[in-house]
Amino acid sequence: MYVVTFGILVLLMVTAIMVARMRNLWAAVMATGIFSFLGACWMMLLDAPDVSFTEAAVGAGISTVLMLGTLALVGKQEIACKVKLIPLLTVTFTGLALVYGTLDMPMYGDANAPIHVYPSPGYVEKSMREMHGLPNVVTSVLASYRGFDTLGETMVVFTAGIGALLILMCDPKSTQKIEAAPSSQSGLKMRDFLIIRVVAKMLIPFIIMFGLYVQFHGDYGPGGGFQAGVIIASAFILYGLVFGLDATQRVAPKSVIEKLLALGLMIYAGTGFLTLALGGQFLDYNLLEHHWMTEHHVPSGQHLGIFMVEMGVGITVTAVMITIYYAFAGRRPAV
């Protein structure tokens, strides 16, 4: 196991240096995707499949697409500059200070490290009892114990989507430019390549299917609303990259996506207000307990609450990612 880990770590460091040294921004962005993917591999070895999953979908997938979309608008070459001494020294000294600090840190994988002993060692057991056997403890902590925190995170994602939309909202100047310039600048478009077109069409249903599996299976295995949202959005983005923005907007109209953006957050917060109305505390899912649940094989109110909340997260994240993609793809390159 150590051999695999060391291999990944060496590759991580090499890729990081490569990214820092590259002048061609296209190449740097692609190498950043590789870096993210290697990071996801290491997270997998560190027993964090949920995070690894998210990093692979977000870091290596959506981030790369967004950066490439930006490069298409701003140009790809960085002006060469020399290695500068003062930043290099600053970085070296900060690094050395941090390395000195690690000498007091608990050892890697040590079962007696403070994090495993305090505040309580039995997270999994406690969650099993209180969540009525929800297998994925990460999901139970994310959606139930720290439900309010996750509501805040969803709100941040929502705000980021709105922010990107506001910054890149079409101004009259650029709409004129769109009318002036024909949409196809180069002769060949993605849709002219037979293999890309056919493979993309074949892949998209499976990507969406997988996204739905991750969404609704998130409490039984790794996954959940955040990952599922990104995966489903990536299916739409793939469609947009191959068949063009107009075709995608016919499938998923802007007005619908903008409403879904708010709907997901409303489902999440609405679950909280529902439990308030039932006489409990905000997001206390135990109050959702109802007698029909045993007939429909829902083990407890906690399961239902986590299901609803994850659905809200999934809808919002999907809508935000698609909105951001629309905002970037809808702009024409500046002259």
């Binding site: 921004l25 998210t54 977000v58 140009g75 960085e78 994988g109 099993m128 980021a160 970037f328």
Partner: protein, 154 residues
């Protein structure tokens, strides 16, 4: 410096190295895209640091086996409404309460970092859209050129 210490702390050193590469890109590069990439690398390094702290030797991912999870689900739901079921299929389990001997890595860092990644892509998107606007107004994505234009105007 002995081998035990090296194998116990190497994860932090790798993380610090990655962090410093990101930091260098933020402070030394003038290109805005490169700066955003630097922020991303820094962020992944921080996330990795949290995740390595949750790791435990011989542990596994904090997802409980379905047999054990099933036991908890049935045990709880049948307890309040009927005792017939408990006596028919859960009686053995009642006598010997389930003991899960698996060692699980810590779930909490995973939870915190999972949301951090998604928020990270949100902030990246906002940063990139700002870069697009800067390019449209200034005609450049190099920080020093944009600053020089600002100074020339004032």
């Amino acid at each position: 410096m002995n081998t035990v210490q090296f194998f116990g702390l190497f994860n932090y050193w790798v993380v610090i190295f990655l962090m410093m590469v990101g930091f260098y890109m933020i402070i030394a590069r003038h290109n805005f895209i490169k700066k955003v990439i630097g922020v991303n690398i820094f962020q992944i390094a921080v996330i990795l640091m949290y995740i390595t702290m949750g790791k435990i030797h011989g542990g596994t991912a904090p997802i409980v086996k379905s047999e054990i999870a099933q036991h908890f689900a049935h045990h709880e739901s049948h307890e309040d409404d009927s005792h017939e079921h408990t006596s028919s299929d859960g009686s053995k389990a009642e006598e010997h309460p389930f003991v899960d001997t698996t060692v699980y890595s810590h779930p909490l860092p995973s939870v915190l970092m999972l949301t951090a990644i998604v928020v990270g892509v949100g902030t990246t998107a906002v940063a990139l859209s700002l870069i697009v606007r800067i390019r449209e107004d200034y005609g450049t994505i190099e920080e020093d050129e944009a600053l020089a234009m600002d100074r020339a105007q004032s």
